[in-house]
């Protein structure tokens, strides 16, 4: 097949007429969550090309940066209430927060293509519950499906205990759904065997930084713009948090210190604009950060006023703290100073040797972040993501936390330390995590359960997997796949009937034989469906009113655009039906607003909307309706009530109210030996590449929508492997060749080793250094996670799979035609 790649099949886009229905929402995808408006009007009608004649208020053709050009891929036609309607989903041109003026990324800019239409690529949306009978998934009724689930959960808990009942669910797909799910799992059932989409158990991703007393999402985007200097660690914000970069960081003009093993776009941008790229050897971040901190100490550039007023310097305060982690790793000012000045590895020459970053670049980074200008310290912020915390989870976040305390980067305008976010923040707590039931301990302290390990060890008998791609999203993904397959499809009996009692009997026999029953809730079938005996069709973004926060804690209503197809229901309704059939009380909500109201009193910390809900209810208002009026602006949590008006929080800790002893910040210990040991255990040997993994500009999570968006998937029709020109030459590989990445040293969930292998198209680029390759973590079918460790016990104080530890050999498979139809030009030209 050959032809011309189109990005849309249109030569004309109809303009919304004046009076078109408008639904406000925010983007489904990355953590920035740009504000969007959906314009809805009947097919056949069209607005005029004048500002008075269309709902966009724009004269056509529109000029640059108008924010009012309806790109063809922002438009679709769907059936709403039986009538064919135009739907134009545009970044809100009137937005004055987040994506001011209609800025957007390629991900959100193609939201319209997500909507269900029976004549397009979304036609394979799930529409009915499915039961696997004699090997194939066949439609059944909701009543029968939820009967089976309710009965089987009860059987599993009664026969094998709560820990045998597992949940694997998105942590963010709207407050209302996650509230319902956790209320059932933690509360009604009482199991700690609950893992979020992205890791093996409940818990923080940034423990070291948390232990310095700062919230991990403390910054507002205003801080990005106000900073004089920003250090970005372990993420490329242009690619994966686009508008945070294009709307706030780049226009704000901060000098950038970009720390990343890869020379990505943002690294090139930093170098081009007076900043510096610290191209660290993977696994050595703590030395680079430590050397910068020590140099700042040696120069006397630390924020002495902040340290004097807001940092713990009494050992007893730490020893008496309520947190066992802080009692172990917390350090006073004097202890920190002594430790850093005594650590020879933090001397510039030593750190340069260990990290591969030249001394002068470490010095330049220290100068950018802390050298006083006209006697004043620069306003410096520290932003970070998974490249930092998914190698050496505790130690790396501790190292950055120490730098943050040292330069006072917290709580003040332009001076923040904050995650940039991987996804949006839609996790609500319907009940408390039952820590006392967790079987996992560290030095006598209960820590969150390592659920994937429990699964592969055969101790989990039933899992309800909701809205995630479990296997591809996990380390040692192919080992997990084999274990799941063994416990489901390969453990008899298989379901051979659609008589409910017989189905339940067969499933119970399978559990008794050491097998497992998996229920999957999702919007499409995916790579996990092969393990599911029962599949529930879910409603998604745009098919119900939902709420969620973005990475600057901005709470907004995501309005309903259309009904879900067929019998698909939002996940909270599936939870409700199951909970009620199990006899649990407190699941009788009529709509998502009722769940949101109930969730209010349990909303705390950075997501605290409790007072907002309380206020709205006292005013006789539905909180969802108030949020609808707030439109794409929303309100930043925590929300206070001043006078009788809800007021949001631009940045946290603005009152210098930290979470350490006495409301202060504190330093923490960075255990370099633990890092060395982990690098030895999980890092590549001399025959292997370090397989770096991450997200890619065009692609979102498991590609559940991207696979169905021609403009996106034609860019990356298969997974790709970035390889350096030097290594490519050595292996005889050119861009467009198919290559294999294989490892027989994949650390598994149960601490063994296994084999993993993926194929990908080679993308020869200087983005990666020799000895390293990069692949998308989650490309369906060939996720880099197949050669990534699944060993969460390697970070024992906080079980996390360290997803940046991938290793493997690379071999050439052969040539393809991909170079003819997929760009291989550099992606890192600033």
């Amino acid at each position: 097949m050959s032809g011309i790649p189109a990005t849309s099949a249109k030569t004309r886009v109809p303009l919304p007429p004046v009076g078109a229905k408008v639904v406000t929402t925010a983007c489904e995808y990355c953590p920035v969550a740009c504000g969007y408006k959906a314009f809805i009007w009947p097919v056949g009608l069209e607005g005029e090309p004048t500002a008075e004649g269309n709902a966009l208020g724009a004269d056509f053709p529109t000029g640059p940066l108008s924010g009012r050009w309806p790109s063809p891929n922002m438009h679709t036609e769907v059936t709403i209430d039986g009538q064919l309607q135009n739907v134009l989903i545009m970044p809100d041109p009137d937005a004055d927060v987040v994506n001011n003026g209609g800025n957007h990324s390629v991900r959100g800019g193609t939201l319209a293509l997500k909507l269900y239409r029976p004549d397009g690529p979304t036609r394979d949306r799930l529409q009915h519950p499915l039961l696997r009978v004699n090997g194939t998934l066949q439609p059944i009724s909701w009543d029968m499906a939820t009967d089976i689930i309710a009965t089987m959960i009860r059987h599993t808990v009664d026969t094998y205990g709560e820990l045998a009942m597992g949940f694997k669910h998105y942590s963010y797909e709207f407050f209302e759904n996650t509230f319902a799910i956790t209320k059932l799992a933690y509360g009604a059932i009482g199991t700690p065997n609950v893992a979020p989409h992205h890791n093996t158990g409940h818990g923080t991703d940034t423990p070291g930084l948390d232990d310095t007393g700062v919230d991990s999402f403390s910054a507002g985007y205003a801080d990005y713009a106000e900073a004089d200097a920003i250090m970005i660690v372990g993420t490329d914000p242009y690619e994966t948090k686009t508008v945070a970069f294009t709307q706030w960081i780049a226009p704000g003009g901060a000098t950038l210190v970009q720390m990343d093993p890869r020379k990505t776009f943002t690294a090139a941008y930093a170098e081009k604009n007076g900043g510096v790229h610290l191209q660290v050897t993977p696994g050595t971040d703590a030395w680079a950060i430590g050397a910068i901190a020590r140099y700042i100490l040696e120069q006397g550039w630390e924020d002495a006023g902040f340290i004097a007023d807001h940092v713990v310097n009494t050992r007893a305060e730490i020893d008496e703290d309520g947190s066992w982690r802080r009692r172990i790793w917390g350090r006073t000012v004097d202890e920190f100073r002594a430790a850093y000045l005594a650590e020879d590895d933090y001397r510039l020459a030593d750190a340069a040797r260990i990290t591969g970053v030249p001394e002068e670049k470490l010095v330049k980074a220290a100068e950018i972040l802390a050298k006083p200008v006209n006697g004043q310290p620069p306003k410096a912020s520290l932003l970070y993501e998974k490249g930092l915390y998914w190698t050496h989870n505790y130690e790396n976040t501790a190292a950055l936390g120490n730098l943050s305390v040292l330069i006072g980067a917290r709580g003040k305008p332009g001076r923040a330390t904050s995650r940039m976010g991987g996804h949006q923040r839609g996790g609500a707590s319907g009940a408390s995590y039952p820590m006392d039931k967790s079987p996992t301990e560290f030095q006598g302290n209960k820590v969150e359960m390592d659920c994937d390990r429990w699964v592969v060890e055969g101790k989990t008998r039933m899992v309800w997997s909701i809205g995630n791609d479990w296997v591809n999203g996990s380390g040692a993904s192919q080992y997990l796949r084999r274990r799941l397959h063994a416990m489901t499809r390969d453990t008899d009996p298989q379901i051979s009937t659609s008589v409910p009692e017989a189905v339940i009997s067969q499933l119970q026999q399978r559990l008794a034989a050491g097998g497992m029953f998996v229920v999957q809730s999702d919007i499409y079938l995916n790579d996990n469906s092969e393990f599911a005996d029962l599949v529930l069709p879910a409603a998604t973004w745009g098919e119900s009113d939902f709420t969620r926060n973005n990475a600057e804690r901005r709470l907004r209503l995501y309005g309903k655009i259309m009904d879900a197809p067929g019998e698909a229901k939002p996940d909270w309704q599936a939870v409700q039906m199951v909970a009620q059939k199990m006899g649990f009380e407190g699941f009788d909500w009529a709509d998502t607003n009722e769940i949101f109201v109930e969730s209010g009193p349990r909303a705390g910390g950075r997501k605290d909307y409790s007072k907002f809900v309380e206020w709205a209810v006292a005013e006789g208002l539905r909180p969802h309706d108030v949020l609808r009026e707030y439109g794409t602006t929303g309100i930043q949590t925590p929300v206070k009530i001043e006078g009788n008006t809800p007021v949001g929080t631009v940045r946290m800790h603005a009152e210098m109210d930290f979470k350490g002893p006495g409301g202060k910040s504190n330093f923490v210990h960075v255990d370099l030996q633990a890092i060395r040991d982990r690098n030895d255990l999980l890092g590549p040997n001399s025959d292997e590449f370090w397989v770096l993994t991450g997200r890619v500009n065009h692609l979102w999570q498991s590609l559940y929508d991207d696979l169905r968006k021609p403009h996106l998937i034609q860019r990356y029709p298969v997974s790709f492997l970035e390889i350096s020109p030097e290594d490519a030459r050595r292996l005889g590989v050119v861009s467009g060749d198919m290559v294999a990445v294989e490892s027989d040293r994949v650390r598994t969930q149960d601490l063994g080793t296994s084999q993993g292998a993926i194929t990908a198209v080679a993308y020869v680029t200087d983005q990666v250094a020799p000895g390293q390759v990069f692949a998308m973590f989650h490309y369906p079918g060939s996720p880099a996670n197949a050669v990534v460790t699944g060993d969460a016990a390697s970070t024992p104080q906080n079980p996390r799979q360290p997803f940046k530890f991938g290793r493997g050999r690379v071999t050439r498979i052969g040539s393809t035609d991909l170079a003819d139809r997929m760009p291989f030009a550099p992606r890192n030209l600033a």
Binding site: M1, S2, G3, P5, T7, F60, V106, G781
Partner: protein
């Protein structure tokens, strides 16, 4: 008077294949012929996808001379307006074969030069070493001129609209477009057409 003919051109069955994670390739070869723009046989030779494809539309107009083969040197970017006086475009001589390229080296292409992200001008941003246009000065999108204006990296929700070319002797003729130009609801509406369309 405008003559417009629209052709099914290509497609993908991505959605249908998604459950297994297998993507049906979306084809685009640099060996493809650009549709002839003589107003006669046109794009009728373009391949068609099967029933599952998402079709693309190619629009052709009467030929308009926009340059000469003999005047172009590798690395040249020559601006013109097309198909309206408000639609900035440029001819590029890439020095390497390109999808839709014409001339003896199949390396002459033309594209609209307003970024399909938010309309900032890309003109003057030709990078001959890599055959790309960009990064855009506003939000850094880069387009691949050898691959139909596909996005290399960036935020544009459409490829850069390619201007279909044909050759008559030494004359380079613009004969149509693929995709909608930034700012327009239809490439031929709301602005003055260039002479000859």
């Amino acid at each position: 008077m405008t003559t417009r003919r629209e052709f099914l051109a290509w497609g993908t069955a991505a959605g249908a294949a998604a459950a297994s994670g297998v993507i049906i390739p979306i084809a685009m070869s640099i060996d493809d012929d650009a549709p002839s723009g003589d107003g006669g046989s046109g794009g009728g030779d373009l391949p068609r996808g099967d029933a599952t494809v998402v079709p693309a539309l190619v629009t052709t107009y009467p030929p308009v001379k926009i340059g000469s083969v003999s005047a172009l040197r590798s690395g040249d970017e020559v601006a013109f307006n097309y198909p309206t006086e408000s639609s900035p475009a440029a001819l590029f001589k890439l020095g390497r074969p390109a999808a839709g390229g014409i001339g003896p080296d199949r390396d002459i292409v033309a594209f609209n030069t307003d970024c399909t992200h938010m309309g900032c001008p890309l003109a003057g941003g030709f990078n001959v070493e890599h055959g790309i246009l960009g990064p855009c000065g506003c939000h850094f999108t880069t387009f691949d001129l050898t691959h139909r204006g596909m996005v290399v990296i960036g935020q544009a929700t459409e490829n850069l609209p390619q201007i279909l070319l044909d050759i008559d002797g030494d004359d380079i003729l613009a004969v149509g477009t693929i995709g909608i130009v930034y700012g327009f609801r239809d490439n031929l509406l709301d602005a003055e057409l260039v002479e000859g369309i």
